[in-house]
Amino acid sequence: MIGLVDCNSFYVSCERVFQPRLIALPVGVLSNNDGCVIALSTELKAIGIPMGMPAFEIQHLVRQGRIHLLSSNYELYGDMSQRVQAVLEEFSAGVEPYSIDEMFVRFDGFASGQLLEHARQLHQKVRQYTGIPVCVGVAPTRTLAKLANRAAKKIPAYGGVCVLQADSLEARGLLQKIELGDIWGVGRRLVERLALMGIKSAWDLAQADPKRIRQRFSVTLERTALELRGIPCIEMIDGNEPRQRIMTSRSFGRLSGDLGEIHQAIRQHAQCSAEKLRAQGSQARAVYVFLKTNPHRPDLPQYSPSAIAELARPTDDSRAILHAASQALTAIYRPNFAFMKGGVMLIDLVDANRQQLSLLDTPERAAQRDKGHQLMAALDEINQKMGRGTVTLGRPSPGAAWHLRCAHRTPRWTTRWEELPSANIR
């Protein structure tokens, strides 16, 4: 059996652990740059505010004190996510993180009688240890576990925990009620085409002939149909597999056409990407740089260029990556455009241990490379210990346009000594 543990309104819940006065109030968390709402508490949803609502459109509600909006505090969310995962690991046979707030949990070796009790314990422990409320869905397959999790969340009688056995009446009742669009991996266009075949509910899809589904649609949908019956077909992708490309991009805080400012932003993104690259033990063969003007401003001239700069040989050296990114930027930058966004992507990644040495490689170059490695390792270590951006190549100027707007970010309660929550004694 496999479980899916989903944190309820994760970002908001993280904030509430350290700001209990926000409990039961309508709270939203904003995207980078305080642009739009990306996480909502149930109370905020109940007011009718949808996901993705631009922050400026609901500013008046904030001023009236009716809702609370916070800047995103990713450092906090990342730490809390790791804590949730650690608790799950302690109380299960293994965890596969699926996203920052969703984790698949292995329940191998539990007798079915103990399963519900164990899932309830997991539900309670995560809440107690981390303060984050979760829902737990357990079923024989991942697709069913997703549905069980949904039921645990939406149907109050489950109390946050739902264990589904494949051939049970309970599973049948649930599948008959669930619409196709709510199944993991079934998109809107598929729903329309399936409706033509008379398949309308999850139960219909589970009962359909899998071979016919494969012929008419795809292997993927056949797998989903089988999974709904309780036959496991979807294995998780290994979360530790190195990524094939690394992207860092951000909207600038305001539109900017200044080469100096944009150059700094690109350098910062390049450094950030290089750090991620080294962390996963890869090297890049090329650097892709792009700029974007604001497409929603038709009154302004539009220009959204990109360029790739190849690296002489695969490398993870920030200096080489920065140099290439600067070259690419110089190639695409044109004055008199107001750019909204810029980014750096490292592509064609190779494993650092399997790099090919150039024919022209000499002992001097090898020695230089070793020195470079040491320098980069020291750089990463300092930035990890003292906080990102402590040591950078070329100082970014504070107050530049591309600096993030995060006017309402809460302290990083769990990761910074100088930002710890304070307990008032009285």
């Binding site: 209990p20 608790v87 107690q128 710890l420 307990a423 004694i425």
Partner: protein, 146 residues
């Protein structure tokens, strides 16, 4: 003092009860491993001593001085462990009226109460809806200005 007066110790001094923790190298080239090898690189780690459940442990700083009697001063660092079930006598971090505060868990007339170190504040019964246990304080770190 003439050299011949230094008498070499015999028999050799008894070995220390525990191998010295910082022996980092092998002895000579004989290939015979140092008996201290298994103890290389051990240092005392405060985390190991103080943090029993890393995923459930949070740090907090203290404001206010009502707990001086119990050894908690303004500016101290609290290690709060949420995995512990509170028992009478524990120092707790609790939510009272939406605020994070420090209290002592006590039984008054067999009913659990949260008590303040300051007699000005009355004990709060724990079944009060506006009060909730956040975590148990496992240790207090007090740093002196040096």
């Amino acid at each position: 003092m003439p050299h011949d007066l230094i008498i070499p110790a015999h028999p050799a001094p008894p070995s220390q009860p525990l191998p010295h923790p910082l022996a980092l190298t092998r002895v000579g080239l004989s290939g015979f491993p140092s008996p201290a090898q298994d103890y290389e690189g051990r240092t005392l780690d405060l985390n190991e001593r103080l943090v029993k459940h890393p995923s459930a442990t949070f740090f907090m700083s203290v404001t206010g001085d009502s707990m001086v009697r119990l050894g908690i001063h303004e500016g101290d660092l609290l290690l709060v462990d949420r995995s512990i079930d509170p028992r009478p006598g524990h120092i707790l971090v609790a939510l009272v009226d939406g605020e994070i505060t420090v209290k002592r868990y006590e039984l008054l007339g067999n009913r659990p109460h949260l008590c303040s170190g300051n007699p000005r504040y009355a004990p709060i019964p724990l079944d009060n809806l506006d009060c909730q246990v956040w975590g148990v304080v496992r240790s207090v770190i007090h740093e002196y200005p040096v």
